[in-house]
């Protein structure tokens, strides 16, 4: 039985990278969004530049299910190399759309799917002379065909194309033409629409579609960052680029045309973080962006920034580890290397946004936290958040909120100040006062170092001032705990003894999983952690549930380790659900794993319902 579904399906495009499919697929996805139907696109791409398999998956969900789902209801098979494996992943009753110029081998790969063949290569050969054009417009043609097959308004597509190619009329015309070739061809040959289709809705509301890396780069602009020292690495590169692009837009001095920011591609990650530490020390809001290997290389500087108390913001867009690992896959596996970064006793502040919306918010406030606490702050993204576009509430900024520059003594403060001691805990919150180089001709100069020193920043090897200082840093860590974003609780409709804890990009799948579980009669309270050090509310949550699952996208249950180390929780009370193959976690997976671990009767039922 062919699947019948309106505004609720997954379509997967199998392409070859470097073939220009990305923009066509985005056009497809955005046209559905413009019709008011929520979408969740995901890009699965290889770690090379051209010629290898790449997939683009769009989940269309009126209900707003934005996590990855798994499986595909329609496959657009544009890559002969992966043809067989792609077809195997189609859901029973699903659809296959392929280029029928050459005969498919074996001719009928599955008998439980509907096959739609369109001679794309042949059409392109007839329509275009230039081989590059043939390649490029083939993509647009299949998008046009899909409009017909899925009942997407082709005018919406044209409008989107018009926005994209504003001022480039020739390109626009060519794209329009390609769209119509596909549309018309499909309309003429096939029974349109298929059982799966799109229908106008208003479920998108005012939401925007944006990549987390863009949100972070923009957030850093809003947060007042002026110095970015970075080194390219997938999947963090586009974050730095987004910062620069937005700076080029918003940070050019109107009078002089000069830049109100410094964007420096360093020679490596050590230099990148060194630049950030130097700039942070000298009073600029500064950040770097990197991924796992960079986190490893920056360790020594993280320790310096912690101990010398220099504000620093680090965006870690996590990818599959260890080592070079899976550069184009997603994971949440740098928690321990960031939280305990560097040798010696160190603990660092982490922020864990769930998607672009929170990324924007946290990226702005990360600079406040870093300056308030005079310490490194890590914003933990992952490839899924950073490089995929997500539907999210529009960005908001409160113009009345001033930057929190923390405890900085100005020239005038210094005039009034008595005995300035850089590492004096004047306020009892563990956070000392600092001065800026050059601030005052005779007061406030101090020496910054990574060695032990007394409260007046003078070098010492004595145990007493050393311990005094280390204890103050612990107090500061408690101050951080009280300042950072608190976890977000989603309470089940009915009281329940089952709790689930998650963080970061798991949120979308978790939201769906909780609903699915509830539908299966399993009520679960869900708590989303947003920062480290961990809020005491997390301990309360664990205490108030009999069974607590901790869902993570890593192998070693890193958050669970943080929970036991930071909150003293008993690991035996925390059941790990781990998903770390590099693809985004799905609600299906969470439901299956939770159900499988709950007392049998409930589990039985659930498994059957969702798998």
């Amino acid at each position: 039985m062919p699947i019948h579904a309106v505004n609720d399906f997954v379509i997967r495009f199998a392409n070859v990278n470097g073939s220009g499919s990305a923009s066509a697929n985005l056009l497809f996805a955005r046209s559905i969004m413009r019709m008011g139907v929520p979408i969740a696109p995901r890009n699965i791409f290889p770690s090379n530049i051209q010629g290898l398999p790449t997939w683009y998956e769009v989940r269309v969900s009126e209900k707003g299910r934005l996590g990855a789902r798994g499986g595909a209801d329609i496959l657009v098979a544009m890559n002969p190399q992966t043809f067989m494996q792609d077809i195997a992943a189609i859901e029973p009753g699903g659809y296959l759309f392929y280029d029928s110029t050459r005969p498919m081998a074996p001719s009928a790969p599955r008998d439980d799917i509907t096959v739609i063949g369109m001679p794309l290569t042949e059409i392109c050969a007839a329509e275009y002379n230039d081989p590059r054009q043939r390649q490029l417009y083939k993509n647009i043609i299949y998008v046009g065909a899909l409009a017909a097959l899925l009942d997407i308004d082709v005018v919406v597509m044209e409008t989107l194309a018009a926005e994209t190619f504003k001022g480039k009329e020739r390109l626009l015309d060519a794209n329009r033409r390609a769209l119509h070739i596909g549309y018309d061809h499909a309309k003429a040959r096939f029974d349109c629409p298929l059982g799966i289709r799109v229908r106008r809705s208003d479920a998108v509301g005012d939401r925007i579609l944006v990549e987390g890396n863009f949100a972070a780069g923009l957030g850093a602009v809003y947060g007042g960052a002026t110095v970015c020292g970075w080194y390219p690495i997938t999947p963090s590169t586009s974050l730095a680029e987004a910062f620069e692009r937005n700076c080029a837009r918003f940070r050019i001095d109107p009078a002089t045309g000069k830049k109100n920011y410094a964007f420096v591609q360093a020679e490596d990650e050590i230099a990148a973080i060194g630049i950030v530490v130097g700039a942070g020390w000298n009073g600029a809001r500064a950040f770097t962006t990197t991924s796992g290997p960079g986190i490893s290389l920056m360790q020594e500087f993280f320790g310096l920034a912690y101990f010398a108390e220099v504000p620093v913001v680090v965006f870690d867009v996590q990818r599959g580890g260890p080592s070079t690992g899976m550069p184009t896959r997603t994971q949440q596996s740098d928690l321990l290397s960031c939280a305990f970064a560097s040798h010696g006793d160190t603990k660092h502040v982490l922020l864990m946004p769930d998607g672009p919306g929170e990324v924007f918010e946290f990226s702005g406030s990360a600079f406040d936290f870093a300056e308030r606490l005079q310490t490194p702050v890590f914003v933990m993204l992952d490839l899924d958040i950073g490089m995929n576009s997500h539907l999210t509430a529009p960005f908001r900024w409160d113009d009345s909120r001033p930057y929190d520059r923390g405890k900085v003594l100005s020239h005038d403060d210094l005039e009034r100040a008595g005995n300035f001691g850089r590492y004096n805990d004047v306020d009892g919150d563990g956070v000392p006062y600092r001065t800026m180089p050059g601030a005052h001709p005779t007061r406030g100069a101090y020496f910054t170092r990574g060695t032990s020193r007394d409260r007046f920043a003078r070098y010492t090897e004595d145990a007493t001032p050393y311990v005094d200082n280390m204890e103050r840093l612990l107090r500061k860590f408690e101050t951080a705990r009280s300042l950072l974003p608190r976890p977000i609780l989603r309470k089940a409709a009915r009281p329940t003894r089952v709790g689930v804890i998650h963080y970061g990009s798991t949120a979308a799948a978790m939201d769906e999983a909780v609903d699915l579980l509830a539908a299966n009669g399993v009520d679960v309270d869900a708590l989303r952690i947003r920062a480290f050090p961990l809020s005491r509310e997390i301990a309360d949550f664990v205490q108030s549930h009999d069974q607590v699952f901790v869902v993570e996208q890593n192998r070693d249950a890193q958050m669970r380790t943080l929970m036991t180390a930071d909150l003293g929780l008993d690991p035996a009370r925390l059941t790990s659900i781990l998903h770390y193959g590099g693809m985004s976690i799905t609600a299906r997976y969470i439901v299956r794993e939770i159900s499988g671990r709950l007392p049998k009767p409930v589990a039985k039922k659930t498994v059957e319902a969702v798998s």
Partner: protein
């Protein structure tokens, strides 16, 4: 060092500079280096140069890595903010500091281990970016602080205190700095204050990456026979290729050389560097000539000192980046934050 504190008493006739500061105002806390360490002489030369140039101490930021040499910023310029960072990474920290506030005067102090061994990459890249700073390497051919291992500047065949030969090709930081695009490159000797002080002054007057390699004997681990960085060896093999005067608005020309021997360079801030060529024909603005000269002396087993290369027209990092003239760390929220209106437009473009 001695543990006795210096007397606080200042002689009333102490020399005062244009800012009204005395020499003492440029000093730092007491050195904890070995008595006789070359590095202390360099600190003294830096103090002297800053005093003579009347640099406002609090406008200087002094940064270093790790090592005996890198400790010295504590022993000079007590009114300046200092940053003793991590081993070999001063260049990047200084670069970042400089980006945050282009208006301060940046002094980087490093050792040969700090710069030529662990820090070679950062050194190279800071040079090629043209970071506006004075970068001084206190070069003793060994790791002083870890007790005398060879660094990458140790000459092939030079003997360690334990009698072991250095076997690898030495790194000539001067040749490298020029190769990498530094715009002011000099070499000197901690024992030659007459040469060193004007060189440091000239380096401060230069805008761009100014590098000085100062041979600075380690009396404890590298001052024996067989070392090519001992006081005796350096004194014997030191060939000064030129002598120089820094002529600021405030100072007058002290020595007047014959026309042909002389090279005057006008610095961007209006002061002049007057060079007396001791090595005939050496034009400090000629890269090729600099390489040739260095190779010649290398071949002869000599240590060429003096100003080796100067390119006063070079671009410094802020020019390359086209950053605003105001220090970035002074920009207010009104300049930095695009505000909620702009966000509406962004949101609209993302639908």
């Amino acid at each position: 060092m001695s543990y006795l504190a210096k007397p606080k008493f200042q002689h009333p006739s102490l020399e005062v500079n244009a800012l009204g500061f005395t020499h003492r105002d440029y000093e730092g806390s007491m050195s904890t280096l070995c008595a006789g360490c070359g590095h202390d002489s360099i600190s003294a030369a830096i103090v002297r140069a800053c005093f003579e140039l009347s640099l406002p101490p609090h406008r200087i930021a002094k940064l270093s890595g790790i090592g005996c040499s890198s400790k010295t910023p504590t022993y000079m310029l007590g009114q300046s903010h200092g940053f003793n960072s991590v081993h070999g990474r001063m260049p990047s920290v200084l670069t970042g500091a400089n980006l945050a506030n282009r208006d301060l005067i940046y002094l980087g102090v490093s050792g040969d281990g700090d710069t030529a061994s662990i820090g070679l990459g950062q050194f190279a890249h800071a040079m090629r970016r043209g970071v506006n700073m004075v970068y001084i390497v206190e070069n003793n051919g060994v790791y002083g602080l870890t007790k005398g291992q060879f660094s990458a500047t140790a000459d092939r065949g030079s003997k360690s205190k334990k009698g072991v030969d250095a076997t690898d090709e030495p790194i000539d930081l001067v040749a490298l700095a020029i190769q990498l695009g530094a715009s002011f490159v000099a070499r000197s000797f901690s024992g030659d204050k007459a040469q060193l002080v004007p060189l440091i002054k000239a380096a401060f007057e230069h805008r761009g990456a100014a590098f000085i390699d100062v041979i600075s004997p380690c009396v404890t681990f590298n001052n024996h026979a067989g070392s090519t960085k001992s006081f005796d060896y350096v004194r014997e093999h030191n060939i000064a290729v030129n002598a120089l005067d820094v002529i600021t608005g405030r100072s007058t020309i002290e020595v007047d050389y014959a026309e042909g021997d002389r090279q005057d360079v006008l610095m961007h801030d209006g002061s002049t560097i007057r060079l007396h060529k001791l090595e005939a024909g050496l034009d400090v603005s000629d890269r090729s000539a600099a390489f040739g000269m260095l190779e010649r002396h290398r071949f002869a087993g000599e240590i060429a000192t003096g100003l080796v290369y100067l390119n006063e027209g070079a671009r410094e990092l802020h020019e390359s980046l086209d950053t605003t003239h105001r220090p970035l760390n002074e920009l207010g929220q009104e300049v930095l934050c695009p505000g909620s209106k702009a966000l509406q437009a962004i949101n609209a473009s993302l639908r």
